[in-house]
Symmetry: C2
Subunit: 438 residues, 2 copies
């Protein structure tokens, strides 16, 4: 496997992308940038993973069509209003947006992705948005304007798509596929795994790879299952969740197909239940690792930046008889409100973790379970063979104080493992969500 290097430049790190953002005032009196546009020099192969919620926001429906069509030339994203529960008018507004972008950039409207995040219900202020689109078309910045200028604009875009996020989330990596340097630049927003009001999680991966559409779609879904789908802030699942991966081919690599990776398409388990990091040839393993690195970084940062959160909380289940069991248990632990409140309180309360395992639905023998809490301050076993051993409360408090805490749950029943990421449940979460709309 070739090395995966973390590089600067965020979403403008890969070849052939430009971006700009501005404040158009989607919400009255807004001063923060709330409209972002991205353009690819060449139509890019596009794949996506979307919310499984039955209630899908209009932009999700629109983007699913674009992904089915297979090519994207531009993206436009607004914050403030989610364009969800907006009926036919909502879908019509997606079309108007796409037409405005198509006209401003000289691309096909069928190749324009639209994204929205914010309050459910209201219609978008289309005059402001189409006006903004025209203005942004003249302001697009790329690496050709200088690395520092591009890096700054990419950072502004990561800020502009934020809602209740407190930190922008961006990353870029470079790696070699058969001697050709390729890059993926990415950003996302999301600070609850979902907010019906917020349309939570929007992720954009912009790469200069040339890759087969079906292969890219399957790879993205499999990686999302092991990264974004292993994160929970509050157990809810949004109407707007979207991850899109664009591949414009401008790195000049030979088009990647299943054959060039030494696999067949059927080898890719889109459920995420199979460990796919070790399949295929070196090119496969490099590509998989690059995609996984980007998605994992963004996913963990969503968990860490959960609404009101003060701690990243990782549940790692080991010694499981299969991956499914490990995954079910890890997700149950990070989703438990009681566990999350205990992590907030630095309360050495592994009974809650043990209990959340118990009601997960997974099969395991409680009498064999060990649970160890760890952080940079050390580690301490708090459940041993299903029972509470003696331990120092003082030591436990020290270990539970840092801002990244991991619970390792060992089933002693096999060699499979899974990790899931969440955050603590705080007073601030309640404050944010008791009156989000105001």
């Amino acid at each position: 496997m070739s090395e995966i290097k973390e590089i600067e430049g965020g979403i403008l790190a890969a070849e052939g992308y430009c971006a700009a953002s501005m404040c158009v005032g989607v919400k009255p009196n807004a001063t923060k940038r709330d409209l972002t546009m991205i353009k690819s020099e060449m139509p890019a192969t596009v794949v996506g993973v979307f919310t499984r919620n039955k209630v899908k926001a209009a932009p999700v429906k629109w983007d699913m069509e674009v992904v089915a069509h297979g090519l994207a030339s531009a993206v436009v994203v607004n914050t403030g209003i989610a364009n969800a529960a907006t009926g036919k008018q909502g879908l019509e507004n997606c079309k108007i947006e796409a037409e405005a972008v198509a006209e401003a950039l000289g691309v096909s409207e069928k190749e324009v992705l639209v994204g929205s995040t914010g309050v459910i219900g209201p219609q978008l202020p289309m005059d402001k948005i189409t006006g903004g689109i025209k203005e942004l078309a003249g302001k697009l910045v790329s690496a050709k304007d200088g690395a520092d200028v591009a890096k700054a604009e990419a950072h502004e875009a990561a800020l502009a798509i934020m809602t209740t996020d407190t930190q922008p989330k961006e990353i870029a990596v470079s790696f070699e596929i058969n001697g050709v340097t390729c890059k993926i630049g990415a950003m996302c927003k999301g600070s609850g795994m979902i907010h019906p009001n917020m349309g939570t999680m929007l992720g954009y991966l912009l790469s200069d790879l040339s890759i087969d559409h079906e292969l890219a779609q399957k790879l993205l879904r499999a990686v999302v299952e092991r990264t974004f789908n292993m994160v929970s802030v509050d157990g809810d699942t949004s109407t707007n969740d979207t991850v899109l991966w664009l591949c414009n081919g401008l790195s000049g690599n030979e088009k990647i197909t299943a054959a060039t990776l030494g696999i067949s398409l059927d080898d890719i388990d889109e459920s995420g239940d199979t460990d796919m990091s070790t399949l295929g040839n070196e090119a496969y393993r490099t590509l998989y690792r690059a995609l996984y690195t980007v998605c994992l970084y963004l996913a963990k940062n969503i968990a860490k930046d959960g609404e009101g959160a003060t701690r990243l909380f990782t549940a790692k289940v080991i010694g499981a008889p299969d991956y499914e069991t490990a995954k079910t248990l890890a997700k149950s632990v990070i989703t438990s409100s009681l566990t999350k409140a205990a992590i907030y309180g630095r309360d050495a309360n592994c009974g809650r973790i043990f209990c959340a395992m118990g009601y997960s639905g997974a099969e395991f023998d409680p009498d064999k379970v060990d649970i160890t809490m760890s952080s940079k301050e050390g580690s301490i076993t708090m459940i041993e063979q299903g029972m509470l051993p003696e331990f120092s409360e003082e030591e436990a408090l020290k270990i539970l104080t840092p801002d990244e805490i991991t619970a390792v749950c060992d089933l002693h029943a096999g060699s499979f493992e899974a990790e899931a990421w969440g955050c603590d449940l705080t007073h601030e979460y309640v404050t944010i969500n008791a009156d989000y709309r105001s």
Copy 2:
């Protein structure tokens, strides 16, 4: 159907039961009563419904054996320590407790039910508990000591089994079966649908009915599915959850069997998915309604008294194609942290309810959904055919202010309906659970 009359007397309302409670100091420095004993004059037919959590507390395992045996003569319950994650010693302590009760009351140890609720992990202080059992045996009070004395002692018992509950939960009803007056007295504790630390929900129904064991077991399970199992405070499920129904036959009714109710045992759907209120003859309908009334009252009061809660929040799904769909949607709505936080904030935010329906897994057409919020102040439609209509924020705030709020979600797809009960998510919930043990 004969009338179901609400009467006074709590758990001592039915014939042939006596009870007492005291403070033995399960937790050091405790001043509140923490040990309760109940005795039935005659061995009672006993049935029960227990937690489905894989991690079962020792008293749950013990009581499952007693229920399988079929007869109970006494109950002993402590708060402070849950006797969960306590291994073989924990089970041995259940036996020691039962033996102490058996000796003190002259009953068989196999007919002694034990209950514990409190912190997970520590072993029970057996000297204090067995000492308390001896003392309580001399203090038992029944209706023979006077209705007011019995009523007061029953109330003390309902207080003594509380943990983070703010209100005792007790009810008693009388009804006629074929001309014979029968009674059920009941109490429960629980202020989160579950607290791994708390062993949440303990419910005791004491009746003077004579009834077939298998019939009673099936009826209780079916009713629990439609009452206690439709409540959620925080989505967690305890290691200790237990509902027990004792029937000592002292009302003098002819033994109730499926035949005397005009049904067959197979008619009883223990999943709760069939409406069973209209089966059988008048005796059946009276008995079902009495049991349902008691369980529903206790369940709703658990929701209302959820940790830190300020509001009872009911989700009623109507117009569903089947009960299963209605149930799944109603439970998803009351479990959503975002919805619960909005109810706390009196935020007219039906997008969150709509979204929680969307990710429930149930099939429905979002474009047909209406959602109406109601309280004693009136009602207001906030989602209409899947979209947000114009409404007065002022009016909405008025309607969302009382302490009982209902969301009615109409699917317009059939005639089935289901109700579920929860509460709001408050700052106080986080405070309680961030440091429960101290």
